[in-house]
């Protein structure tokens, strides 16, 4: 619990964080419109917030269905933040940038907070 809280604080001040590569995994199922949108949205967000310290791994479940079990994927598309821990899951085509940032813990606080 303490660890999680600590992480949260660290995450909030991610600018001060030592440079560490983010591992992101995007699950898709075939080249659907939603998947493509999600990928381009993710790319955009990463470029603007995590430039140079992120890695995106796209997993197509149609090609590798056995991989869905590991991360308990139900919804498509799902973005999983493998690193830094804790693991977080964001579902949807990532079109709501604000929510993605909150979900990835790149934004200071959940909606109530103005900044």
């Amino acid at each position: 619990m303490n660890k999680a809280k600590a992480m949260k604080r660290l995450g909030a001040g991610s600018q001060r964080r030592p440079r560490k590569t983010w591992q992101l995994r995007l699950y898709v199922a075939g080249q659907t419109a939603k998947s493509l949108t999600a990928f381009s949205n993710l790319k955009k967000i990463c470029e603007s917030h995590l430039r140079g310290r992120y890695r995106i791994e796209v997993i197509d479940l149609v090609a590798h269905p056995q991989l869905s079990k590991g991360d308990q994927i139900l919804a498509i598309p799902t973005l999983v933040r493998k690193l830094p821990e804790p693991v977080r899951k964001i579902i949807g085509d990532l079109s709501d940038t604000e929510r993605v940032l909150v979900g990835l813990n790149l934004r200071a606080a959940p909606p109530p907070s103005p900044q």
Partner: protein, 583 residues
């Protein structure tokens, strides 16, 4: 009531069925669940949904050679394995042999952030992969509703669920989807809207502190099914449903007769006892000898070499054996030789269904020819009258189906209500014996009536029922102007009659003696007369002689006289005269 094999699918039914292997369910659904379609199983917490689903999958794999995927949203694989292991299902082994695939879908809302459009393709992919990897024909989704808790967007979820069910149908798998029961709808989230082929409702009700599970097929599109609510239970071998109406009235009947163990009672039953395979009800107030009569019957059956199963709900086996010993019934040797088996259980130990299932199991294992249930009324405490009747019906049906003779004792309370309370049950029974107490003259005496005995000319007489050290004895009760007399009054009456008879005999003897005396007197008289007569005759003869002698003398004298008078006439009168002159 055995598990039917794959061939049990009804040949004429248009809808292909997928047998579940769940005891009784295939009977009421006429073959099983609709093949290739989803079935919704809904019910409250703890009513056996997951177990139902697990049994469907396990039996599919073990009995029907159909692999299955069990997708659980609530329990982990390990938990599920442990849970069903308690029912004798070797899920782990089946998983190892790739007969069953367990998929634990874990969904945690707090970990999920929603950002725009999505669908549940991931679930489809997983399910598809699972189905294809073992060639599954059966799928369980337990409980899909967990998705409602895990995913915030209900609109998307509903659209996806609709798609999922269509997809399952297209995939051609027989699916069981479990769902929590809702307040107003069958399910909390209205899943019945999507699954329209077959809906099964499970229920767990508590009646008078005793819980009974019920199953009802709410809907079964395109097939005949029983719409009744059926009690079911979860036993050591999974779910067993014991349909009341599944058996028609088409038992084989036997005309063989078997002795009751009481010769006089056999005589009352047309001289030869009960029919084999019939059901016998023995009612009586407390202490009228029901258990003894039942034990007599048991002993007689065991002596014939038949197997007897004795269900006792009041006394322990040892107690029965000891008590019967005191009246000369030796049950112990039969217990030792394995012909007689006791099964004792407290009625309140568990619900009626459990009792019934336990009995069925015992019967199936022991294969008895005679079953005794002592007393059936104890079980009434475990359920309502209606339920008990249902249970007895099913038990009787089951036993008759197997040509097992069954004897049920029933405890009644005094008064006239005693017969009324049995009306419901008695109609199921072929023979009905009534044991009663007659009170009078400061004592109670047991009497026995044969109230009914189908198919035989039974006695309409009341018999007094005596329990002695030598067992049971039936004696004729005294029936006379002063009513039915039993016990001491019967004995008194008999003594009175005996005395009367003695008096009569004495009187007759006296008269006989008198007559004899009279006759003797007459005879003496006759003898006297006769001797008198003889005397007279002697006298007469003497007189006769005298007269002839005198005549001779007279003629001799005359001859002499003539000679003297020189008569030359030859005397011709008698030769007597001649020798004399010659002398």
């Amino acid at each position: 009531m055995k598990n039917s094999g794959p061939q049990a699918i009804h040949p004429t039914s248009r809808l292909p069925k997928c047998p579940t292997g769940i005891q009784g369910l295939d009977e009421i659904t006429d073959g099983g669940l609709p093949r290739g379609r989803p079935t919704l199983v809904c019910g409250g917490a703890g009513c056996g949904k997951t177990l139902f689903a697990a049994e469907f999958i396990v039996r599919g794999a073990t009995q029907f050679g159909e692999a299955g995927v069990f997708m659980c949203f609530e329990e982990t694989d390990a938990e599920l394995k442990a849970n069903v292991a308690s029912l004798g299902f070797d899920l782990a082994g089946l998983v190892r042999r790739k007969k069953i695939l367990l998929e634990h879908v874990y969904i945690e809302r707090s970990e999920i952030h929603e950002t725009g459009e999505y669908d549940l393709e991931g679930l489809f992919v997983r399910l598809n992969h699972a189905i294809d990897s073992i060639g599954a024909k059966r799928v369980v989704l337990d409980t899909l509703e967990a998705l409602f808790a895990g995913l915030p967007n209900e609109a998307i979820l509903r659209a996806e669920l609709r798609r999922l069910f269509r997809w399952l149908k297209k995939k051609g798998v027989t699916a069981v989807i479990t769902a929590e029961r809702g307040r107003e709808h069958l399910t909390r989230h209205g899943l019945e809207e999507y699954v329209s082929d077959c809906v099964i409702l499970l229920d767990h009700r508590v009646n008078d502190q005793i819980a009974t599970r019920h199953l009802r097929v709410v809907k079964y599109r395109g097939a005949l099914h029983s719409t009744n609510e059926f009690p079911f239970l979860i036993g050591e071998e999974g779910i067993s449903l014991l349909p009341i109406t599944s058996l028609g009235l088409n038992h084989k009947v036997s005309s063989q007769r078997i002795s009751t163990g009481i010769p006089r009672l056999d005589a009352m039953l047309g001289g030869r006892g009960f029919f084999r395979g019939s059901s016998i009800l023995l009612t009586g107030t407390p202490g009228t000898g029901k258990t003894i009569t039942a034990s007599c019957f048991a002993q007689a059956a065991a002596r014939r070499g038949e197997r007897v199963l004795f269900f006792s709900f009041e006394e322990s086996p040892n107690q029965i054996i000891r008590n019967m010993h005191s009246i000369g019934l030796r049950l112990e040797p039969f217990v030792k030789s394995g012909l007689l088996r006791f099964h004792a259980a407290r009625p309140s130990l568990y619900g009626l269904e459990m009792h019934l299932a336990t009995m069925f199991k015992e019967i199936a294992v022991f294969q008895p020819q005679v079953v005794i249930l002592d007393p059936i009324t104890s079980l009434m405490a475990a359920g309502t009258d209606f339920e008990t009747k249902g249970m007895v019906t099913r038990l009787v049906d089951y036993l008759k189906g197997g040509q097992v003779t069954s004897l049920f004792t029933s405890l009644t309370h005094g008064g006239h209500a005693l017969q009324q309370s049995e009306i419901a049950m008695s109609s199921l029974m072929d023979s009905w014996l009534l044991l009663q107490d007659l009170e009078g003259n400061g004592e109670r005496n047991r009497v026995l009536y044969v109230i009914k005995a189908r198919g035989m000319a039974h006695s309409n007489q009341v018999r007094e029922f005596l329990i002695s050290n030598q067992g049971i004895e039936l004696v004729d009760a005294y029936i006379g102007p002063s009513g039915v007399l039993t016990g001491a009054s019967r004995a008194a009456q008999a003594a009175r009659e005996k005395a009367e008879m003695l008096a009569n005999q004495q009187e007759a003897a006296r008269r006989k003696r008198e007559l004899e005396r009279k006759r003797t007197a007459l005879e003496q008289q006759i003898a006297g007369l006769r001797s008198e007569y003889e005397n007279e005759e002697i006298e007469l003869r003497r007189l006769d002689k005298q007269v002839s002698a005198q005549t001779l003398m007279l003629s001799a004298e005359q001859t002499e006289l003539g000679r003297l008078r020189q008569a030359d006439v030859t005397v011709t009168t008698g030769k007597q005269g001649k020798p004399k002159p010659k002398k």
